[in-house]
């Protein structure tokens, strides 16, 4: 549902055509929530900073007006210290959207409006969306909206994006801004005289729109020594002279602290602007603080953290597998498979084709998709954790450990996201300012045991071990995953990224009662991706594996897969892995759940025969070795693609794949050999 539909109520003055509207603001202020409310899309929403890391587009129709909405990553300023800031800044400065909605957290106005001031330096077509009015009320803050509007000189719209309150008014304000040409002059912080002079001198040497930016703004950024702007100036010969002058001026001791003075001046301006606008009434956000004292308590903090994650995994296993729902699902899938066979035979399809469709494609799909309840439960739990604000506290508490291995507390969030899926997790690493730490977090992320591998492990654990042993096996795999992340980080940090420690500055947002809509859409999006993979990549892959195992016709050993298997078989000798297991790993690169699907095909059994076939052919020790190897051996294809995109380097992408392979071989051999010595084989 899109709110704009309701906003299309008759209004005498409508602007026809299309307009581009950007949503900018601090992290975690509800930009994506408003974006979703306006467009009816489902962008990632949760209660921690730095979820949206790239711009997302959507459209919103309001009568004859079409709005192209752009959800920008959250930033505290436009100073280009991180990729998100650059994305936001370049979009606003260079693509010049028709309207910029500056989304602010009403309960935290000063810091939020600091960014608004920076936006106002770039454009005067700004609307302030005063979000989280409910939270401000909970804190006992009373905001005089008309007064704020007058002082800022731009429309201010109060709203509660989470409850879809006020989005129609936002659209109305967009119309107003589009209609009028005259706007009040925005408030500007006065620069200290020496500074203003220096900026003027630099600006006079610049063309009208240097590299597409506003002239005065560009001059000031040159003076501040803004990295991205210096780079632009360096690349463009005609800007070189101004750059040179700025360099000289920066050396002037009077201007050395220009940056700090500009920022202080802006904050001073803000406190003047807000005097009389925000009044403190009664009411305090005490339960959030009280909860924090318990949750991060000296002695209780870690036990609670452990308990929360244990509860999440317990719920995943006990609610996700073996429930009436999953049993019913399997039955239905079986029926469909049977029906498919019947129908194909009925239309006189050749036996080979029937087999291909039923024992190949369908069996592969069924093996994987049966795990859908487990996936759904996990992602629901995770979304609850995220939307409550607890994840930010978890990052706060484990930072001490992260810093011990040379990682940043901020790395924790991408890492825990890896429990779900490594693809968004690798992208979430963008929230880390330091390039070395960011790369490190990306490289170790595939070691986090994701849901795709979980599906394989749950199946193997249930097939080879029973009762507490199965649980211990699962626990050991999670433990191994965490230990490997720590060890590899420490190793890489020592050898590859000896960088300066970066500051850890993490906002702890107030706790938030999870909203069913966020939780449901979030869980649904991830689950749908899983089902899509099962229906897409995995079906294609099992189809291919089936063809390779059946062609050329004859015994499996002579098929393409068999020949490939015999070729790679020596690799598996020291790890006790048969050629079928190895070939399934090759197939699993495309999508890790596919390991199961291709095993079903390689053993020539359906989804229900796989457990029996595996028990017959593989020893428990080899099965455990196989699990460890498939945990580390190579990131899946989608993860590799996103690693390449995020690091913009083939070298690092290849490195991510290679170290995994080597590590898998070493661990696999070690575990299998030691296990045999202990007489477990």
């Amino acid at each position: 549902m899109s709110c704009c539909d309701s906003a299309a109520s008759p209004s005498p003055l409508r602007v026809a055509g299309t307009a581009t509207v950007a949503l900018a603001g601090n992290p975690n202020v509800g930009k994506s929530t408003l974006f979703n409310a306006l467009t009816g899309l489902h962008q990632h929403v949760g209660n921690w900073s730095g979820k949206t890391v790239e711009r997302k587009d959507g459209t919103c129709r309001a009568g004859d007006l079409t709005l192209r909405l752009v959800d920008l990553p959250g930033t505290y300023s436009l100073s280009a210290l991180s990729p998100e800031e650059l994305i936001a800044r370049e979009f606003i400065a260079l693509e010049r959207p028709d309207v910029v909605i500056s989304v602010v957290d009403a309960s935290n106005l000063e810091r939020n409006l600091y960014l608004t001031l920076q936006l106002l330096e770039l454009t005067d077509r700004v609307i302030v969306a005063l979000n989280m009015i409910d939270l401000a009320e909970r804190k006992g803050l009373i905001i005089d909206v008309p007064q704020l509007e007058r002082r800022l000189g731009v429309p201010v719209v109060p709203l509660v994006a989470e409850h879809r309150e006020g989005s129609a008014e936002v659209v109305e304000a967009i119309r107003r801004v589009l209609r009028s040409d005259k706007r009040a002059a925005p408030p500007r912080a006065g620069l200290p005289v020496v500074l203003a002079e220096a900026v003027g001198r630099i600006a006079s040497m610049l063309p009208e729109r240097p590299a597409g930016f506003d002239r005065d703004w560009f001059a000031r950024k040159l003076l501040e020594g803004d990295g991205a702007i210096l780079e632009v100036a360096g690349r463009t010969p005609i800007l070189g002279a101004a750059d040179q002058l700025a360099r000289e001026l920066r050396a002037d001791p009077q201007l050395a602290d220009a940056e700090a003075e500009v920022i202080s001046a802006q904050y001073e301006l803000l406190s003047t602007l807000l005097t009389g606008v925000v009044r403190k009434g009664t009411g305090k956000l005490d339960w959030s603080d009280a909860l924090d004292r318990v949750v991060t308590h000296r002695y209780l903090g870690y036990p609670i953290l452990f308990g929360v994650f244990a509860l999440m995994f317990w719920a995943t296993f006990s609610l996700g597998a073996g429930t009436p729902l999953s049993i019913a699902l399997t039955r239905i899938l079986d029926q469909v498979g049977g029906g498919l066979r019947w129908a194909l035979v009925r239309v006189g399809a050749p036996a080979l084709l029937v087999n291909f469709v039923v024992a190949g494609l369908w069996a592969g799909f069924e093996t994987v998709v049966g795990f859908f309840p487990l996936i759904a439960v996990f992602f629901t739990c995770f979304a609850l954790l995220e939307d409550s604000g607890y994840l930010a506290r978890a990052a706060f508490m484990v930072d001490r450990f992260m810093s011990a291995i040379g990682l940043h507390g901020r790395s924790f969030l991408p890492l825990v996201m890896g429990f779900g899926c490594n693809v968004p997790a690798v992208m979430a690493a963008r929230g880390i300012d330091n390039p070395g730490d960011r790369l490190l977090t990306i490289l170790v992320n595939p070691l986090m045991l994701c849901q795709a591998r979980l599906v394989v492990f749950v199946f193997f654990a249930a097939t080879f071990f029973s009762g507490w042993r199965a649980a211990a096996v699962m626990l050991s795999l999670y433990g191994l995953s965490a230990v490997l992340v720590v060890l590899m980080s420490a190793l890489f940090k020592r050898t590859l990224f000896q960088s300066e420690p970066t500051p850890f500055l993490l906002e702890l947002p107030p706790y938030h009662l999870p909203v069913w809509r966020n939780v449901a859409t979030h869980a649904w999006r991830s689950t749908r991706m899983f089902i899509r993979r099962a229906g897409g990549q995995i079906t294609v892959m099992t189809g291919a594996v089936w063809l390779f195992t059946h062609l050329p016709l004859g015994p499996v050993d002579h098929s393409f897969a068999g020949r490939l298997g015999h070729l790679v078989a020596p690799l598996g000798l020291t790890m006790g892995l048969s050629w079928r297991l190895l070939v399934s790993l090759v197939a699993g690169v495309l999508a890790k759940e596919g390991v199961l699907a291709s095993l079903a095909v390689l053993y020539g059994v359906g989804p229900h025969g796989l457990a029996g076939a595996l028990r017959h052919a593989v020893s428990p020790l080899a099965a455990y070795t196989f699990m460890v190897v498939s945990l580390v051996y190579i990131p899946c294809f989608s993860t590799l693609v996103v690693i390449r995109r995020e690091t913009m380097s083939w070298r690092w992408t290849a490195f991510a794949a290679l170290y995994g392979l080597i590590l898998a071989f070493v661990l696999g051999t070690g575990i299998f050999q030691v296990g045999r010595l202990l007489g477990l084989g």
């Binding site: 106005l109 500051p503 993490l506």
Partner: protein
């Protein structure tokens, strides 16, 4: 009395007098509103005493002690 921000005990308040440190770190802190003259209070520390959560300009910001050392405050 002047002290580094890292010395603030939970419950204590101070007023920022100077923000030091490497330039990019410093810029980030200034952007977050930690400019000279701002009041800041220590709230609670993580279980292993580091990092520490501070209340500044009405929001909660967690910082490592090492980073907080670069900020000088006047105890209130």
């Amino acid at each position: 009395m002047l002290a580094p921000l890292s010395h603030l005990q939970p419950g204590q308040r101070g007023r920022i007098t100077r923000v030091g440190g490497a330039s990019s770190i410093r810029r980030r802190m200034l952007d977050l509103g930690l400019v000279p003259g701002t009041e800041i209070a220590a709230l609670h520390a993580a279980p292993l005493r580091d990092p520490v959560a501070f209340l500044v300009r009405g929001y909660h910001l967690a910082m490592r002690r090492r980073d907080a050392e670069a900020i000088a405050v006047e105890l209130l």
